[in-house]
């Protein structure tokens, strides 16, 4: 398979993630969409790494994985803490700050 095939699949999944961020109102799902985007990029990395015969891409994937884990921790913590005071988690409710 040519590299472009993997890249296109990656792009499709990435775009699905992007769209998810835009159309979902539940922050958890938005967050999942972001994870989707990161994973799409990871796919690219692995594919490129393999085609270039270079370790950098896999390193990247590994680091991204860790970062994603940390991000999930913080992100979920934020969501939970907001849930405590607000009792609902529609992101559209968060628009005190605007203008």
């Amino acid at each position: 398979m040519p590299l472009s095939a993997y890249l296109i699949v990656s792009a499709i999944i990435f775009t699905i993630g992007v769209t998810g961020v835009l159309i979902r109102r539940n922050p958890l799902i938005i967050f999942m969409s972001i994870e989707l985007m990161l994973n799409a990029v990871n796919l690219s990395f692995v594919a490129i790494s393999s085609y270039l015969d270079s370790a950098d891409g896999q390193m990247f994937v590994f680091i991204v994985l860790t970062v994603a884990a940390a991000e999930v921790v913080v992100g979920l913590a934020i969501i939970v803490s907001i849930f405590r005071t607000r009792r609902d988690i529609d992101v559209d409710d968060m628009n005190l700050l605007r203008g």
């Binding site: 992007v18 961020v21 835009l22 159309i23 109102r25 938005i30 992101v91 559209d92 968060m94 628009n95 005190l96 700050l97 605007r98 203008g99």
Partner: protein, 663 residues
Amino acid sequence: MTNLMLLVLLLPLLGFAILGVAGSTFSNRAVLTIAWGACGLAFLFATISFFSMLGTPVAARTSDQVLYTWVASGDFQLSFGLLLDPLSATMLMIVTGVGLLIHIYAAGYMQDDPGFWRFFSYMNFFIFAMVLLVSADNFLFLLIGWGLVGLASFLLIGFWYRRPKAVAAAKKALVINVIGDFGLMIAIFLIFKEYGVLNYNNNTGGNGVFSALNPTSSGTLLQTVIALCLFVACAAKSAQLPLYMWLPDAMEGPTPVSALIHAATMVTAGVYLVARAHPLFELAPTALTIIALIGGLTALFAASIAIFQLDIKRVLAYSTISQLGYMFMAEGVHNYSAGIFHLTTHAYFKALLFLAAGAVIHALDGEQDMRQMGGLRHKLKITFWTFLLAALAISGIPPFSGFWSKDEILSSLLAQATIHNQPLSYVLWGTGILTAGLTAFYMFRLFYGIFMGDYRGSGHSSHAQDDDDEEASHHTAGRLRIHEAPPVMTVPLVILAALSCIGGLVGSFELIGLARWEPFTKFLAPVFADVHTMVTASLGVQWTSTALSVGVGLLGILAAWRLYGRGFQYKENHNPLYQLVLHKYYIDEMLDAAIVQPILWFGRTASRLLEGDLLDAGGRAVAGGLRGTSAALRRLQTGYVRNYALAILIGVVLIILYYAVRG
């Protein structure tokens, strides 16, 4: 000699300074001491200068003392010097002499005025300014003097500063005079641009305008323009058409002021300027013709207005304008010394007329309307007689002074007409003759109106409604006690009357065969030595002219006597022509509507439309537009995370599309 000149200049200034700073604390007597002292000493030194000049040889009569450098800027170097030559000496004598007399007179006239000190400080200031004007040795200081006399005139017209009319008149006088200043400045610029200097002569070691002139290239446009610009200044200062209208209004000032400034001295500055700058005018024959024409027109025009005026001072004012027209006519036909001669005699009899009128007004407690007078010959004897002499003098009745000077002008005109056979000059001469008749007529109308017949006044003080209730007014309402003026006022009247009678005797006696007796002309001859264009009138012409003018004068007196001999009767007259003349041809109204109002309208409209609606509101509209944009854009900041993410995506898509399209 020149040191004396400096004193003549500075003494009045000193008097002004002392009175101006501390005058309010002085008693009237102290004020008079200073004012009379300053003016008197100035007159004394002027006289000494004058007579010592008579004692020097003709060639050495001109002196110029350079005092200091006013400004030096590149090739524009200007030093101020005092010029003493026969012309300025003559003027100085008139200014200080008549000035002194009027100072004396005013002590009586202004006796009860709370602004006594102020009045005399202004008067001293005027003397200073006038002396500066006539003794300056260059055009710039002439301009300075020119402006300062204008200021003095402004201050004195508006002396009673709470009278709306006085204030309006002062404003008018100032603004119109500034038009003259404008002309003078342009003339000066042109002179400097053309000749590179502003000094009259090369006495100062450098160049002088007059010595830089090239007589062979006369009549160019530039020279004409210079001359005309100068004449604009003269017209404004000397109240010639079309800039005359401030002078009648200027009569709102105290009468001594009218006598000194608006009759005898300041208004003649224009005549002086033409005489002083005659080398420039000589190069511009067209301009001279225009001057003569305007002079003639003004003479006739003003005389015609004077006929129907009811305010005695206004009659005199129009008469002044008319007489100044004569002087310009003389200068227009190159006879400068005749102009100056008439200036001199006019100073005597017109000052006298005003002072006498002042005495009448004084006696009637401020009344100026001829309808409220009559029959005063018994009560005001000195005034009556002096006024009569002056009226005869102005009417050109020999042997009074006015005859000599006016006669010389008229014969000059006729000579010009006959020798060059110019129709225009005939017209001018005719105008002069006609005006002489009119002059005699309105003068005697005035004379009869004031002194003859019966007293028509109510006997009550009518002019007492002083605008200022707080002012300790000396006009107390009640029964008038018509009385002759105190000696301090009558003595100047008598002196001036004497001068009016004999003042003309320095004129030319050629008419009666004494061709060599023309001391005045001879005295001034060095100044006008370069004038070669003046034609001398033959004896026949002189006789013709003289006979006619005297005849017409007598006719005028006769007519006046016929009409008003038994007292002045005012009748309402609705003849449109009469109304036209009575209202001074509606010139003031026309000017107001044609010039003043449009300017003010423009100012107001520009203020509203350009300043307000265009610039101010425009600026605000820009600001408002930006703020509106800002407010609109702020709405994009919805607060929805998903919108923000959308914005990011839009950015991404745009960038990617850019690359896709660009390839």
